[in-house]
Every structure is written in structure tokens, then in C-alpha cells.
């Protein structure tokens, strides 16, 4: 008779296909995980499930047309992408936009940042089972989207910027609507923090999970709140200000441990700082035009000129016809911006044609996500949603 205890206890590793259809992969991430029990021994992320050829499209669309593509890359903070592309194009062409344009862009970027962080913190919470915190933020995000709708006409596919300015000015009384939402943001941020910060389960689930060291953050090229949570004091808004960010007073939120909890804290603090920036931008909002047209054929003339004068109509055609207008200089330009998730920039190479020779996106999500397999190794399966949630991968931007 064989004694059971003498039999070798064989265990096999289980390969688990996490995604692309999975409740916590936020879009279309796929991770192939090797599990030992519930401990992840190896994780291989596979990207590309949302590849849409956005970069290639940049070679066929002119500078203003491509703006409509940029917001589709990022479904959490589309306006930041609009602005990032417009900045790069303006640098290439050499247009200096009006102060009012810059201030409105700052306002919109910061509102987007609030919306992004609210959703991200909420998603992190919902991935750990706390649905209520998520819905608190989600409801408010809806109000912010209403603000976008008032200004841009749409909620998500904003396409608000133009090369040389903005599609249109913000309407009268917009500041009141924004201030009302900002007050609400303050309250909801407090609510979420009350619900989560001191909750022991929340702390257990997020502290010491997915720790990124300072060195790793630098070597992987991680930027944004994720880098700041490791203690790196790097915020492009402060270090290399663009779009008049130097006019605003705000603090850069950093944390020291680099775990999921710290990334959450940094995001919550950034929401508060963004409220500050929004208020300042509304207070100091300069008057003036929102579109600068140096006669280079990038922006359409005002509509009443088009309809009421022959010169206006001719100019309108000049701009829109594929063989006229838009004669960008030969060259290349890149402007880094601080998008909610990190450094976002568009690298535009122009060969002097109406459409750029190449448009390359520097998406924060790709670099931030690249460290994921290192973070999850040795943690448990349950920590995977927490870490993915804290990275805030935007698949549209990741795969482009």
C-alpha cells in the first residue's frame, strides 16, 4: 500500500488569460498571467487591441483636421490632447496665440485633469469593490462634461483647439457655471477621502502594493502622478511651463512611497490643486480674441465675413481647399505637456506640405504601463486590478 504522504505533491502553474474582455481591464488590455495559487509569478501584457492607426492618420490629415483625432485617443481627458497637439503645431509654424486662448486652454486642461483623476480614483475604488466612491466621482464628472459641452459643443470628442487658438470663445456666464462645479468638486473630493483614506481595508489593499522606486520610475520613463508618487518632483507645468502655466500659483503634489495608495493620494491632491488653477484662470481671464490668424491659412475667417463678403468667402475656400492655404515650414517640433497621466507630446515632422510628414505621439500610458509586469510579479491576482487601476492606462492612447 502506498502511503499518501510519500507521494510527491506536484503542483502546476496555471496560465490565466486576463482580458482583453475583463471587467477590470478598462478597455482592451490583455495580460497573460502565470499563477502559482493566486500569486502572480509572471505577467506578460499584450497591447494593441485598440490600435486604430491614429498616428498614421496624421500623415493624411492637415493640421486642423488632425485635432479631431487627438481627442479620440484619450477618452478621459480629451481636451489635454487637443491642447498638446495645437501647441506642437503652433511651435512648428511659429504662431503665438493670444493670452486669452492660453488661459482658456489652461482652464480646460485643468477641468480635464479633475475629470480624469475623479474617474481614475473611482475606477481604482471600484476595482477594489467600493462602488460608491466611484459613483460619487462619476456623477461629478458628468457635470464637468456638461461644462465641456457648453464650451465645445460635445462631451467627449471636443476638438476644441485650432492651430492658432480655439474653435470658439467660452460663452458669457461660463465662469459661474465652472465655479459652481468647482465647489461641488471640493465637496465630493472630501467625501471620497472620508470614505477611503482611513478605511483599514482600503489601506490594506493599496499600501505596499505595486511599489515603484525612484530609480525605476526614471529608467522606465514614468511621468505624471505615478512618478510624483515615488518622490520625483517633476511637473512639466512648473519645470517647463507652457501655455502661460507660469502665471498660476499651485503646488506640485508628491508622495514618497510609490505604492498604489500614494498614487491615489497624489491624484486626490492634484484635484485640489487643479481647482486652485481653475479659479485663478477664471479670475485673471484676459479679454481679447481667441484666434490668431497671421494670414497663413490655418484658421477659418469669422462666419459673418464668409457669408457677407466675397473676400471672406474666397479666404474660406483658400483655407479649406487641399491645394491652397497652410504652408507650414519644413521642420520638426515637439512640446511636452503635463497631461493628467504624465508627459504627453506630439512630435510633428513637416516636409512643407499641407499634411505633416509624420505625427508621433508620446503617450504617457505606454511608458507608464511598461512597468506593470514588474509591479505585479509576486503580488496576488487580486492586486492586479488595483495596480492597473492606479496606472490609469488609457488604451486609446496606449495603442493609438
Amino acid at each position: 500500500m502506498t502511503r499518501v504522504t510519500e507521494l510527491p505533491l506536484e503542483t502546476d502553474k496555471m496560465v490565466l488569460n486576463f482580458g482583453p474582455q475583463h471587467p477590470s481591464t478598462h478597455g482592451t488590455l490583455r495580460i497573460i498571467m502565470e499563477l502559482d495559487g493566486e500569486t502572480v509569478t509572471k505577467a506578460t501584457p499584450e497591447i494593441g487591441y485598440l490600435h486604430s492607426g491614429f498616428e498614421k492618420l496624421g500623415e493624411d490629415l492637415d493640421f486642423n483636421q488632425y485635432i479631431t483625432i487627438t481627442d479620440r485617443m484619450n477618452y478621459l481627458s480629451p481636451l489635454c490632447n487637443n491642447v498638446a497637439y495645437a501647441l506642437a503645431a503652433e511651435k512648428l509654424i511659429g504662431i503665438e496665440v493670444s493670452k486669452r486662448t492660453e488661459y482658456i486652454r489652461v482652464l480646460m486642461c485643468e477641468l480635464s485633469r479633475i475629470a480624469d483623476h475623479l474617474l481614475n480614483v473611482g475606477m481604482l475604488a471600484v476595482d477594489l469593490g467600493a462602488l460608491t466612491a466611484f459613483l460619487y466621482g462619476f456623477k461629478l464628472r458628468e457635470d464637468i462634461y456638461d461644462l465641456f459641452e457648453i464650451a465645445t459643443g460635445t462631451r467627449l470628442t471636443t476638438s476644441y483647439t485650432l492651430v492658432g487658438g480655439l474653435m470658439r470663445d467660452i460663452p458669457d456666464g461660463y465662469d459661474k457655471a465652472v465655479l459652481k462645479v468647482l465647489d461641488e468638486v471640493d465637496k465630493v473630493a472630501n467625501d471620497i477621502e472620508t470614505l477611503l483614506n482611513k478605511n483599514r481595508i482600503w489601506q490594506d489593499r493599496t499600501k505596499k502594493i505595486g511599489i515603484i522606486s525612484k530609480e525605476d520610475a526614471i529608467s522606465y520613463g514614468i511621468t505624471g502622478p505615478m512618478a510624483r508618487a515615488t518622490g520625483i518632483e517633476w511637473d512639466i507645468r512648473v519645470n517647463e511651463p507652457y501655455s502661460s502655466y507660469e502665471d498660476f500659483e499651485f503646488d506640485v503634489a508628491i508622495a514618497l512611497n510609490g505604492d498604489v495608495f500614494d498614487r491615489y493620494l497624489v491624484r486626490m491632491e492634484e484635484i485640489r490643486q487643479s481647482i486652485k488653477i481653475c479659479r485663478q484662470s477664471l479670475e485673471k481671464m484676459p479679454s481679447g480674441d481667441v484666434i490668431v490668424d497671421p494670414g497663413l491659412g490655418y484658421s477659418l475667417p469669422p462666419k459673418d465675413e464668409v457669408y457677407n463678403s466675397i473676400e471672406g468667402l474666397i479666404y474660406h475656400f483658400e483655407v479649406t481647399m487641399p491645394n491652397r492655404g497652410m504652408t507650414p515650414p519644413v521642420g520638426e517640433a515637439y512640446v511636452p505637456t503635463e497631461s493628467p497621466n504624465g508627459e504627453l507630446g506630439f512630435y510633428i515632422v513637416s516636409d512643407g506640405n499641407r499634411t505633416p510628414y509624420r505625427v508621433r505621439t508620446r503617450p504617457p500610458s505606454l511608458m507608464n504601463y511598461s512597468i506593470f509586469s514588474k509591479l505585479i510579479e509576486g503580488h496576488m491576482l487580486s492586486d492586479a486590478p488595483a495596480i492597473i487601476g492606479s496606472i490609469n492606462v488609457i488604451a486609446g492612447e496606449l495603442d493609438r
Binding site: N17, A130, L131, L135, L195, I201, D204, L381, P385
Partner: protein, 344 residues
């Protein structure tokens, strides 16, 4: 047993069964409305006035869904598993007294389906069987996510059931009986004679364990939508899925009723002697029972929509390193106190 007695028992069984199922429906509605209220939403409000017919619409939807059995499942177990979970969940309520006795035509009828003399053991045994439903569902589904859900469930079971059992032991020590009626009788009278005041530690342990028992957040590890998609019921559809759903709510009802019975004097209406008031006293006792149970059912919903979920190793740690030693300590203190009291 005479014929009338048989009829009475049959009626009681039917009434309790119907009441449980009705409460399940009410709970499903309540859960959706209360969570909506907490989250600033509206919740169901289309089917019937204020959406009260929503659970029925849900039920009809489940009935009309395609019954899908994936390839490669262990079919007999796959089909049996929801029943293994649901049936014990509905059976446990049988021994819980939901009111004092009622007198009809000179006949005294206890408001309890069966007065088993090992009532508590019966409940503990049946609730443990329910877990087999989850484990088998996860095992037979031929899906990795389901398997992980089932495994988690069994790990969860051994972590909390011991502490739960030991918390109950301290109550048994006080009342000196496993019979639920004796436990209630022990708590009769003054407000402070409820066990929750005599055994606060046991109450806390029991309450936590009961949340784990019912697979509710923060202990819904075997389901864990964001990690395991749907856990043990990922592959289930139609009425089989609905059975898991109903079992969860039926378990909640039993758990709430048990909490009330063990720690809050059961049907005891504070400061009133129900037996003196005849049938009116009985009505009062049933009302007291329903109110107390309603509170604990609300607490279930409240907790679910407030807390994040535990991680599986954290639950084990909580069960083995915190709850079990605390429960043992509690028994030690209780037994010591009783020994000293009996000597002095």
C-alpha cells in the same frame, strides 16, 4: 401527531417559505433602491409604482434567458450546484422562532416551524453545506476564474467558520442550551439582558463572520467581479444564475434572523412581557422580530456599498490571527465567569 397538528405544520412551512421568498424579492428591490440612494442615483423606478415590481421583472427575465451549459463542464455537478446552495439557504429558517406562541381555538401554536433541540447546530451544519454549492459550481464550470472563485470560497469557509462557531459557543455557555427557544428565553425581560450587552465581543466576531458566511462585501471574494469576472457563477446563466442570486439573499435573511435570535433577544419586545398580552403580544413579538431583522438586513446593504473588498490572504489572516484568538479568549472569560459564579 394528530391530523390538525399536521395541517398546522404544513401551513407553517408554507408561510415561512413564502415569507422568505417574498423577503428575497423585497431585499433585491431594497438593495437596488438603497444603493441608489447612497450613490445619488434613482435606482429602479420604471416597473410599477416606484419600481416595486422590478424584482418580478428581473425574475421573468431570468426565466426567459437561454439556459446555456458551456462545453466541457461536469454536467451533473454543474446542474446540482445551484440547488446545493439554495436549498440549505431556504431550510435554515425552519428552526428560527419568529414570534412567541399564538393561541387559536384554544390551541397554542409556536411560531417556529420546528423546535429542534440542537437548533444552532442544525443552522451551522446547513450553512456549511451551502458552501459546497459554491465550491462545486466553481469546480464543475471548467473555467479558471470559476475554479479560483470556488477555491477562495473553501479557504474562506475554514477561516471564518471556526471563529463563528466559537462566538456561538459563548452564547451557548450562557444559555446552557442549543435550543433557540431557550436562548431567547434566556434574554427575556429587561433590555440589558440581551446577549449583545452580555457578549459584545462575541457579537462583533459573529457579525463579521456572518458577512463572510453570506459572501457579501467586504468578503465576496469568491465572486469578486473585478478580479474573477463573476467567480463561481461566471459560467451560469438563466435560472441557475438566479438561484445563486436568491441563495445569497436567503442566506442574508437567515443570517439576520440568527443575529437577532442570538444577540438581540429574538422576538423579544423590550420591556414588555408578550405572553401576558395574548395574541396581541404575539403580534408585537413578530413585529419586534421583523423590525430587528430589517435593521440587520439594512446593515448588510449599507456595509456592502461602503467598504472595499478584502484580499483573500487578508481574510485568512483576519480569521485565523484576529477572530479565532479573540473568540477563544472570549470563551475563556465567559467560562471562567460562569465557573466562579457557580462556585460562589
Amino acid at each position: 401527531m394528530d391530523f390538525l397538528g399536521f395541517i398546522i405544520i404544513l401551513v407553517k412551512v408554507l408561510v415561512v417559505f413564502a415569507a422568505t421568498m417574498l423577503t428575497v424579492l423585497i431585499l433585491i428591490y431594497a438593495e437596488r433602491r438603497v444603493s441608489a440612494f447612497m450613490q445619488g442615483r434613482l435606482g429602479p423606478n420604471r416597473v410599477g409604482p416606484k419600481g416595486i415590481l422590478q424584482p418580478i421583472a428581473d425574475g421573468i427575465k431570468f426565466l426567459m434567458k437561454e439556459e446555456f451549459i458551456p462545453a466541457g463542464v461536469d454536467k451533473p455537478i454543474f446542474i446540482l450546484a445551484p440547488a446545493i446552495l439554495l436549498i440549505p439557504a431556504l431550510m435554515t429558517f425552519a428552526v428560527i422562532p419568529f414570534g412567541s406562541s399564538i393561541t387559536i381555538l384554544g390551541r397554542e401554536i409556536a411560531l417556529q416551524v420546528a423546535d429542534v433541540n440542537v437548533g444552532i447546530l442544525y443552522i451551522l451544519a446547513l450553512t456549511s453545506i451551502g458552501v459546497y454549492g459554491i465550491v462545486l459550481a466553481g469546480w464543475s464550470s471548467n473555467s479558471k476564474y470559476s475554479l479560483l472563485g470556488g477555491l477562495r470560497s473553501s479557504a474562506q469557509l475554514i477561516s471564518y467558520e471556526l471563529a463563528m462557531g466559537l462566538a456561538v459557543v459563548s452564547i451557548i455557555l450562557l444559555s446552557g442550551s442549543l435550543k433557540l427557544n431557550d436562548i431567547i428565553a434566556d434574554q427575556q425581560g429587561y433590555f440589558l439582558s440581551w446577549n449583545v450587552f452580555k457578549q459584545p465581543l462575541a457579537f462583533v466576531i459573529f457579525l463579521v463572520a456572518v458577512y463572510a458566511e453570506t459572501n457579501r462585501l467586504p468578503f465576496d471574494l469568491s465572486e469578486a467581479e473585478q478580479e474573477l469576472v463573476g467567480g463561481y457563477h461566471t459560467e451560469y446563466s438563466s435560472m441557475k444564475f438566479a438561484m445563486f442570486f436568491m441563495a445569497e439573499y436567503a442566506n442574508m435573511i437567515t443570517a439576520a434572523a440568527l443575529t437577532v435570535t442570538l444577540f438581540f433577544g429574538g422576538w423579544d419586545f423590550p420591556l414588555i412581557n408578550e405572553t401576558m398580552l395574548g395574541n396581541w403580544g404575539t403580534a408585537l413579538s413578530v413585529l419586534a422580530f421583523i423590525l430587528k431583522m430589517g435593521f440587520f438586513l439594512f446593515l448588510f446593504i449599507w456595509v456592502r456599498w461602503t467598504f472595499p473588498r478584502f484580499r483573500y490572504d487578508q481574510l485568512m489572516k483576519l480569521g485565523w490571527k484576529v477572530m479565532l484568538p479573540t473568540a477563544l479568549f472570549n470563551i475563556f472569560v465567559t467560562a471562567g465567569y460562569l465557573t466562579i459564579k457557580s462556585v460562589v
